[in-house]
């Protein structure tokens, strides 16, 4: 048997131009970027930067031109993403729209939905959020209770979503709701795309343990949307969400999101011979993860469904990114002041706090390993 079939990543001929373009944009914009933010890059929202990337044709890259996209190759997009993440660029505002909501609309959305949302998304100006989790539905997502009742004119939504990243800046939420009254588990669920300014929606911030406002809770009270808000088939929500999650799991953000920390370690402590072996080990792991992530991207680009590979990349990437701050903390000399103002110290302190979230968001470690085990024929 083969644990991981390798799909060759055919590096696009435009690769040097793309890297140069991103590196130029980064060098023009990076003056104001905070060091610690760079180690948290796809969670940091900077609308001006998102719009700049939109102007440069680097958002919605692989979408058709008629929707504001640029008809580029998925592997060209991969190159752009890894460059942005390695630089720690603040890509959080448009991230979800570009990565999953836009592609989902292209696959399942109506012509009207595509025309309404995609051009703004590709411009880096329309943001989306993911409405899956609820108080009673975390890992067990089939426990979703938020309902949408069908009326003559549309849908009426009631219920609550939670942990919704970026709901406070998003223009629309793609919500998984129960459209068939009395249905249970995976059956009777559908996806609705709802404008966040619709009356009846209340967004409340949830401040995370590091004091940041990234996620929120959302209340829906008799929120009325037209029939045209339904994305894909009525009752097809579970299948669509599963496809969406594969897009969410295998990208370079699963191992590059805190690359800045390794950079600062090299810059500030690289001269210490006791630190160099750790730099070697972390480099070896990073390089290997990149091979795995690129292979999975190539499989996805070839039209195949790499659900198990994506789970493997995310699980290993999460473990790596959680290990990096701990390993660095362990190897620093006793006189290194983690409360100091250096880039390394500030980034390390932040990541030591935020790292536990890596193996929760986007599917927990245990759920991912369950998917891998199913792929192995163990369940």
């Amino acid at each position: 048997m083969q644990s991981f079939a390798i799909h060759p990543f055919s590096t696009p001929g435009t690769v040097s131009d793309l890297r140069a373009q991103v590196r130029r944009i980064v060098s023009e914009c990076e003056a104001g970027w905070d060091a610690a933010d760079r180690a948290n890059s796809w969670s940091v929202a900077d609308p001006a930067f998102s719009a700049r990337l939109g102007d440069e044709g680097l958002v919605g890259m692989i979408w058709p031109k008629r929707y504001g996209g640029h008809d580029r190759d998925p592997l060209e997009r991969y190159i752009v993403l890894e460059e942005l993440l390695a630089a720690g660029a603040p890509v959080g505002a448009h991230w979800i729209a570009d990565r999953q909501t836009g592609p989902l609309l292209l696959r399942y959305g109506t012509e009207e939905q595509r025309e309404k949302y995609l051009p703004g998304m590709a411009a880096g100006k329309t943001y989306a959020c993911i409405g899956l989790s609820e108080p009673g539905a975390g890992s067990d997502l089939a426990g979703v209770k938020t309902t949408a009742r069908k009326t003559d004119t549309g849908w009426v939504i009631n219920g609550q979503k939670v942990w919704t990243t970026g709901a406070h800046i998003a223009h629309a939420i793609l919500a998984l709701v129960r459209t068939e009254p009395g249905s249970e588990r995976q059956a009777g669920l559908s996806q609705l795309l709802v404008d966040m300014d619709t009356p009846g929606i209340t967004v409340r911030p949830i401040i995370n343990l590091a004091g940041q406002h990234d996620f929120n809770e959302i209340f829906f009270e008799d929120v009325e949307v037209p029939h045209g808000a339904l994305v894909g088939g009525e009752g097809n929500g579970w299948k669509q969400v599963t496809a969406e999650l594969a897009l969410e799991r295998s990208g370079p953000e699963r191992y590059l999101s805190s690359f800045a920390l390794l950079r600062y370690l090299i810059a500030e402590q690289g001269g210490d011979p006791a630190v160099q072996p750790l730099i070697g080990r972390l480099t070896a792991e990073l390089w290997t993860l990149r091979q795995m992530s690129m292979s999975t991207a190539a499989k996805l680009a070839g039209g195949e469904d790499p659900a198990v590979e994506a789970a493997i990349v995310k699980d290993l990437g999460n473990s790596y990114e959680q290990d990096v701050p701990l390993a660095i903390q362990a190897v620093l000399t006793a006189d290194f002041d983690t409360r100091s103002d250096s880039d390394l110290a500030r980034t390390l302190s932040l990541l030591l706090q935020t790292a536990p979230s890596f193996s929760l968001r986007g599917g927990t470690r245990e759920i991912l390993r369950g998917i891998i085990a199913r792929g192995l024929g163990l369940r």
Partner: protein, 236 residues
């Protein structure tokens, strides 16, 4: 996989299963795998070498097919040997993963197959992830070798492989219980070889010092530039 590559793999599997001595491997022409067709060789690339050595690791052959293939080509012998160990380990880790899966699907305790227990599922998932990492590392190093200098990639791949061997062999033994601790059961030939390869051609200390120093020498922004510059060599 190209048609040539899959034919090559079929031959390698058949020959390595049967071959009792080096002579039969030589007969099969493996010594010329990397020699150009123009010079009367097979004209294979490093991806072919990865595929063949991976099969050797998977089949558990003790014949030195790596030496047969690599001795005739130029290059640093420490690096060539390290690359060979990565390829062999990729196959051997896939093999012990397969053995562990078969075992927990058949062995019953508490009235059901061990595979039904979530703790067992989760630990075999880790073994699969580690095996996947080594397979990817081997393929990545092979690609770099096709483009010339691969010192960086081989160091990274061997270091990652050493890590995976430590984690992976422990899980495979744990899943097998006492039967895997017997001379009779065919797990130990694989885990013993894996452990040997972990030492051979550079242990963790050797490669992590070397790679760490090389990365630091690249300067603050040098690591990312180097990683991308090297993989972009394959741009078409």
């Amino acid at each position: 996989m190209s048609e040539n590559r899959s034919l090559l793999c079929d031959t390698a599997t058949a020959v390595l299963r049967e071959a009792a001595d080096m002579h039969s491997l030589e007969e099969a022409g493996f010594a010329t795998l990397l020699i150009a067709e123009a010079d009367g060789g097979f004209g294979g690339d490093w991806g072919d070498v990865f595929a063949v050595l991976r099969i050797a690791g998977y089949e558990g052959s003790d014949l030195d097919i790596a030496g047969l293939i690599l001795d005739p080509v130029a290059g640093d012998s420490m690096e060539k040997g390290a690359f060979a160990k990565v390829c062999l380990a990729a196959g051997a880790l896939d093999r012990i993963l397969e053995m562990a899966i078969d075992y927990v699907n058949t062995r019953e305790q508490f009235g059901r197959p061990l595979a039904r227990f979530q703790a067992v599922q989760q630990s075999l998932a880790i073994l699969a992830v580690e095996a996947a990492a080594v397979n990817s590392a081997g393929a990545g190093a092979a690609l770099a070798l096709d483009h010339g200098d691969a010192t960086f990639e081989i160091a990274a791949a061997k270091l990652r492989t050493n890590q995976a061997i430590g984690v992976g062999t422990a899980i495979a033994h744990q899943a097998h219980g006492a039967i895997g601790f017997t001379r009779e059961y065919p797990l130990h030939p694989f885990t013993r070889r894996l452990n040997q390869w972990r030492t051979d051609n550079g242990n963790d200390r050797y490669w992590s010092e070397k790679l760490g120093a090389a990365v630091v020498a690249l300067g603050t922004d040098g690591l990312w530039e180097e990683i991308t510059r090297r993989s972009d060599r394959s741009a078409g």
